[in-house]
């Protein structure tokens, strides 16, 4: 691969896990064309955590869906693990996702007619794991996420926070190198948001890359880097620079009156 691509702070010399070049997505409805993505360049290193922010309608979810193969790009390139994938068929994408990409959505998207356990085991079974392996992995994940006792329940019986944990377990079942998350805390109260955040932190620490669309700045602030998408283009792409020890920066925010 050529080394002349643009470089971003925080990426350094770590090899790219995901790379998008000049990504364009045009939706056509009733003879009207809407350009949702207008030439997006993006790079995600192995194990990197990147948040995507921006106003609604700026193309954030579209970008995530295109990168995960849930919607085809109109033009541009997508590379995953050094392999060009934008030309894959629907079936090709399905196989790629099963092996390498986990998805988490705002509204959980769990299969309502299956138990929690089956929801989490399904991706492993589809990827060719034997039932015993799938079951062991499911037990590990549910225990780690603190919902082992919900294995036999129907998703609808769980709270939003619990459903999102199940969705996270399902996304992680095949140990994907890339986790794509679309507003994963958008539908959760603040204590459930904190729990999901803690889990994402752990996932990140475990070496999985995360690309996450979010409006929640608490969530975004945990990322290595934040991309601001505006009007289908990257308006900003920068590492979060930690404020050095001491509280000077926070003083601006926390100044008590009087």
């Amino acid at each position: 691969m050529r080394r002349s691509e643009p470089r971003w702070p925080g990426v350094g010399d770590t090899p790219a896990l995901l790379r998008a070049r000049k990504l364009v997505k045009v939706y056509r409805a009733d003879g009207v064309e809407v350009e949702a993505l207008r030439g997006v360049d993006l790079e995600l290193a192995i194990g990197e955590f990147v948040a995507i922010m921006g106003p609604s309608g700026s193309g954030k979810s579209t970008l995530l869906h295109v990168l995960g193969g849930l919607a085809p790009a109109t033009s541009g390139e997508i590379w995953l693990r050094g392999q060009r994938v934008d030309g894959l068929s629907t079936a090709g994408w399905a196989i790629l996702r099963r092996r390498h990409i986990g998805f988490v959505f705002q509204f959980f998207n769990l299969l309502s007619n299956m138990t929690v356990a089956d929801n989490v085991e399904l991706p492993a079974l589809l990827a060719g794991a034997n039932p015993r392996q799938a079951r062991r992995r499911r037990e590990e994940l549910l225990a780690e996420l603190g919902i082992a006792d919900k294995a036999g329940a129907a998703p609808a019986r769980l709270s939003g926070g619990e459903q999102q944990r199940v969705a996270l377990a399902r996304a992680l079942a095949n140990e994907p190198s890339l986790l794509l998350a679309d507003e994963p805390t958008g539908n959760l109260d603040s204590s459930n948001t904190r729990d999901v955040l803690r889990l994402l932190r752990r996932v990140h620490a475990g070496g999985q890359a995360i690309l996450m669309v979010t409006h929640d700045a608490r969530v975004a602030s945990l990322a290595d880097r934040v991309i601001n998408l505006f009007d289908g283009m990257v308006a900003d792409d920068a590492a979060i620079v930690p404020i050095p020890r001491g509280l000077n920066g926070v003083r601006d925010v926390l100044e008590l009156r009087g």
Binding site: S221, P242, G249, V250
Partner: protein
């Protein structure tokens, strides 16, 4: 700084350093640690205004310390402060003034200003989430102070996004 000191003195007389410690202990590490010099200056002004009075207390091994006490005028001022609702949103936001005026003067472009401001807010948010993770669950004042700052900062970011939508 005036009213917090009056409020602490309403509980019991204290000297300057005790007031500094009390503020730190009550609000936790998220609260900007008050400068001891600033506390002494404020106490002196409060005394000039008749809101506190003080007397030297002799100490055997160290220099005398000055102990401050609330006067009845001080108690009245404190009551007025407590009863009055506090200011709401910050309409005079410095960044916003910059965002509007700097491009008009050709000093900067709005996208660059917004990007720099957003990066700064996110760094602050990182700091706050770290503080939040460290905060003692049982220490409600410190925890709520941080949560309030988080919510304000989220609102600032949302507002920045609105500015981006309308002005770019």
């Amino acid at each position: 700084m005036r009213q917090p000191l009056l409020a602490l003195l309403a509980k019991e007389p204290a000297h300057g350093y005790e007031l500094k410690l009390a503020l730190e202990q009550t609000f936790g590490q998220a609260y900007p640690s008050p400068n001891i010099g600033q506390i002494y200056v404020t106490l002196k002004r409060l005394e000039q205004d008749g809101l506190v009075c003080s007397q030297d207390v002799e100490q055997t091994t160290r220099p005398n310390k000055r102990v401050y006490e609330l006067t009845s005028a001080g108690r009245e001022a404190l009551r007025a402060w407590v009863e009055e609702p506090s200011d709401g949103p910050r309409i005079r936001d410095e960044f916003f003034i910059k965002l509007i005026l700097a491009p008009m003067a050709g000093l900067a472009d709005r996208i660059a200003l917004m990007n720099a401001q957003r990066r700064h807010y996110l760094s602050l948010m990182r700091k706050l989430t770290d503080l939040q993770a460290d905060a003692d669950r049982a220490d409600a004042p410190a925890r709520l102070l941080i949560e309030g700052a988080v919510l304000h900062l989220q609102a600032d970011l949302d507002w920045l996004e609105r500015c981006q939508e309308e002005l770019v």
